[in-house]
């Protein structure tokens, strides 16, 4: 990727760009707004929380605050995979109701790259069969002939939490 060329392009066209951090999940590449990424860390053991759905792996301690960890494969009903050397936890800042700031971690197969994408190039997603519910998809971006699914993490992680509440209310 020619970062400098893109930067020049950015200055010339004065388009709005968005940087995406992409990761792999079951062979597909997904992207999240890089400004929401707090840190990326290797998988480490977690403390289980009782009576929560399986995709909530538990909580970890990140510099004194208790952060829940969500397994993305399990969240989207994908096939389970043993955690290996490339498995990482991406720690994200989630905005809730436009104000409350939460920190959550998601377990993904591997991180891929950082892309600078013009916002206009993120196309609305057609309703077709990616593994992820289109509800959580902001759009699709094409970079170097690859398709990247841009996720709406606020919506996704809040919905993840809602599911917990439902389950407990049963």
């Amino acid at each position: 990727m020619s970062e400098t060329a893109e930067e020049i392009a950015q200055h010339e066209s004065n388009k709005e760009f968005k940087e995406l951090l992409t990761f792999f999940l079951a062979g597909e590449e997904y992207g999240v707004d890089i400004l929401r990424v707090q840190e990326i860390k290797g998988w480490d053991s977690v403390t289980n929380i009782p009576n929560t759905p399986e995709y909530i792996r538990g909580v970890i301690n990140i510099r004194g605050s208790i952060v829940p960890i969500i397994d993305m494969r399990l969240r989207f009903n994908l096939e389970k995979k043993e955690y290996d050397a490339t498995t990482v936890v991406i720690v994200l800042n989630v905005v809730n109701d436009g104000k409350t700031d939460r920190t959550m971690g998601v377990v993904v197969d591997a991180v891929s790259d950082v892309y600078n994408v013009p916002i206009d190039d993120v196309k609305a997603s057609p309703d077709f069969g990616t593994a992820v519910d289109t509800e959580f998809v902001t759009g699709l971006a094409t970079i170097e002939e690859k398709m990247i699914i841009v996720l709406d993490i606020d919506h996704m992680l809040n919905a993840a939490e809602l599911a917990v509440i439902d389950k407990i209310a049963e």
Partner: protein, 675 residues
């Protein structure tokens, strides 16, 4: 003046609210017929500083309103006016209005002009007769700018001694006007030989010429010396006399027309974010930090290449022991800073009881004890509302009307006792009334009606009383505006639980009821017992643990196939297998190979089966809700010495979870109860 006054607003509000509280309690004392000059003086002083402060910050509406109150109080102070119930009642009303005004200003919302006008009229009516002169002219708020003003300023002789400088006042006045003519009156000036340089003998007459000077602006200049001078302000423009404007168009300009009415609610819970700390507590902290620094420098020697040998290790151990001691002491001192006497929560009750007893036409005496018991500030702020609810409840439902009381051979006046004290590691707050007590039959009937209990269920007295804390339960025959909407007691219990506390009720028919609230001393730190279940570590609050024991097989009894009880001396205690409820894989399911921890919450006991007891330590409570959500049966999490997270069990919640599990055994949950 270029000083940014905004920065002092918070302090002003804080002090004003304190002042209002003082006024309120003073007035309530007055009403009890205790006309003490010192007391009236105290009330007067509070009103005076609120007036002065609000004048300084430009909250004219408040300053004017307070001015009338002050005039009235001044007359009382000078013995010119009798302290009657009507006067006190009006003053109490004006305290409320003032509080609302200050709240409105602080939140940037609109002042309720109508209530202000109403009370102002009431005060004026009282003032009316004798002092019509001073009262009305002074408060004729001239919102209409005049062409100019004549200001007659005649300071009292000792104005300089109070730290005020007339020159500054005049200079300030001059800055308002386009031009000013000043005439000085030196008539009363004594001979030079008799002159005390600190006395002020002059008076001034000033003609201020300018188009947009309001009377408020001029009054503001004199806000601080109001009581130290005679001040007459007259409009120079004779033809448009401002008599017609009266006080009804109350000038509320300081509200800065803020049209955010919609989210008024959301910015409501402005709990004061600062606390007043006794200086000795701060000194203690500084001392502790000093000690800590010394210990630290002592320990750092070991890092600076000193050879390690047997003796240095000994010293290192000593140092570490010292460090531990200091850290603990520091922690305790910091905790103490957050502690405030419970009187902060109690002080609103005399007024509440006073008002409500009038509403309900009941005679009630409020007795408060243990007001100096200290409680964590956060707990204190959150316990206020539940307490109010309970006191209202006692007043409304507990205490009978005077006739009924006399008929049942009690004294006419009912007594509500509010007390706070330490017990074990808890703070206990009791609300006790000598009313009719809870009506068991009515509670049961109601509970059956609402489907809270089945017809056949046999309940103990305590269980019956406990029903009133269930959601959707209210026995009030008439829904009054105070209580009886059935949203009360369950919310009370929930709020108290959120604080890690518990509430229970005991009652004797005809003699009254006692509500007991137990609260933890602090929310931030907990003495925890670490227990092992399978590979997991959980924490039980030490406070709730009664004892831990090894299981004797002969004491286990199975009840109805699916639940077990353990006979401990004369009691049967249900056994809760935590691994089942939390769906964990245990080391063993045989009761004999593990331990039972008997815990109690809200008067209920359970024996929790755990694999192992791991040790006790103080843990800092971290909320799960910050980044996640509340989990039933857990009150939070903490970080252990090795950096891992351990979950803290909420005993009351766990008992509920267990009861729920028992109630619906049919849909077997993850771990399975059929085991």
């Amino acid at each position: 003046m270029s000083i940014d006054l905004e920065q002092f607003h918070e302090t002003f509000f804080e002090e004003s609210f304190e002042g209002l509280d003082i006024m309120e309690s003073g007035l309530l004392e007055l009403e009890q017929g205790d006309v003490d000059l010192e007391n009236i003086n105290t009330i007067f002083r509070s009103a005076h500083s609120i007036k002065g402060g609000s004048g300084t910050f430009g909250f004219t509406a408040v300053a004017e309103f307070t001015h009338d109150m002050e005039t009235l109080l001044d007359q009382m102070r000078n013995g010119e006016r009798q302290v009657t119930e009507a006067v006190v009642e009006t003053l109490l009303g004006s305290v409320d209005v003032l509080r609302n005004m200050l709240n409105a200003i602080r939140d940037g919302s609109d002042i309720d002009v109508s209530s202000v006008a109403e009370v102002t009229v009431a005060i004026k009516a009282i003032l009316g007769e004798e002092s019509a002169g001073t009262g009305s002219t002074e408060t004729q708020v001239a919102a209409i700018p005049a062409k100019g003003w004549q200001v007659n300023f005649k300071p009292y002789i000792d104005i300089m001694k109070t730290g005020n400088d007339t020159v500054r006042l005049l200079r300030e006045l001059n800055s308002l006007a386009e031009s000013a003519e000043v005439t000085i009156n030196n008539d009363s000036l004594p001979l030079l030989s008799e002159l005390d340089p600190e006395d002020c003998h002059q008076s001034w007459s000033i003609n201020l010429i300018g188009n947009d000077i309001s009377e408020d602006d001029i009054r503001e200049v004199f806000a601080w010396v109001d009581d130290e001078c005679e001040l007459i302000i007259e409009s120079l423009a004779q033809d448009d006399s401002s008599v017609g404007s009266e006080h009804s168009d109350n000038d509320c300009r300081e509200t800065e027309p803020n049209k955010r009415k919609t989210d008024k609610r959301s910015n409501k819970p402005v709990e004061s974010s600062s606390i007043r700390v006794n200086i000795s507590k701060v000194d203690e902290l500084i001392n502790m930090v000093g000690e800590l620094v010394i210990t630290q420098s002592m320990l750092s020697r070991f890092g600076e290449g000193e050879e390690f040998n047997a003796s240095t290790i000994e010293k290192l151990k000593d140092g570490l022991a010292q460090l531990e001691g200091h850290t603990r002491e520091l922690q305790e001192s910091v905790m103490r800073i957050r502690m405030m006497p419970i009187s902060f929560a109690f002080q609103r009750f005399p007024r509440l009881v006073h008002d409500l007893s009038t509403t309900f036409d009941k005679k009630i005496e409020l007795v408060m004890t243990g007001e100096s018991t200290e409680l964590d500030k956060t707990v204190l702020e959150k316990i206020g509302d539940p307490l109010v609810h309970l006191v209202r409840n006692s007043l409304d439902h507990g205490i009978e009307s005077p006739q009924v009381r006399i008929e049942s051979g009690k004294s006419e006046t009912g007594v509500i006792e509010l007390s706070a004290f330490h017990q074990g590691g808890n703070i206990v707050i009791q609300i006790k009334d000598d009313g009719a007590g809870l009506n068991k039959d009515r509670i049961i009937t109601k509970a059956k009606e609402k489907g809270l209990v089945t017809k056949e269920e046999h309940l103990s007295d305590d269980q019956i009383y406990d029903l009133i804390f269930r959601p959707g339960f209210s026995t009030a025959d008439v829904v009054s505006d105070v209580s009886g909407r059935g949203v009360g007691m369950d919310v009370v219990r929930r709020n108290i639980r959120e604080l890690g506390g518990a509430v229970e009720v005991k009652s004797t028919a005809g003699e009254g009821s006692v509500f007991t609230i137990r609260l933890p001393l602090t929310l931030a730190i907990l003495d925890g017992q670490l227990v092992g279940i399978g590979n997991e570590t959980y924490i039980l609050p030490v406070i709730s643990i009664i004892e831990s024991l090894q299981v004797k097989t002969e004491n286990i009894n199975a009840v109805a196939g699916n639940s077990e009880v353990y006979r401990l001396r004369d009691e049967y205690i249900p056994i809760v297998r935590l691994y089942q409820i939390f769906g964990i894989k245990p080391i063993s399911t045989e009761l004999e190979s593990g331990l039972l921890v008997v815990v109690e919450a809200e008067g209920k006991k359970i024996a929790i089966y755990v694999d192992d007891l791991l040790g006790q330590q103080q843990v800092v409570i971290k909320s799960l809700e910050t980044n996640f959500k509340k989990i039933e049966g857990l009150s939070g999490a903490t970080i252990l010495g090795d950096g891992t997270v351990a979950l803290i069990i909420d005993i009351a919640g766990l008992i509920e979870l267990y009861q729920k599990d028992m109630a619906n055994v049919v849909p077997i949950k993850g771990g399975g109860l059929a085991a």
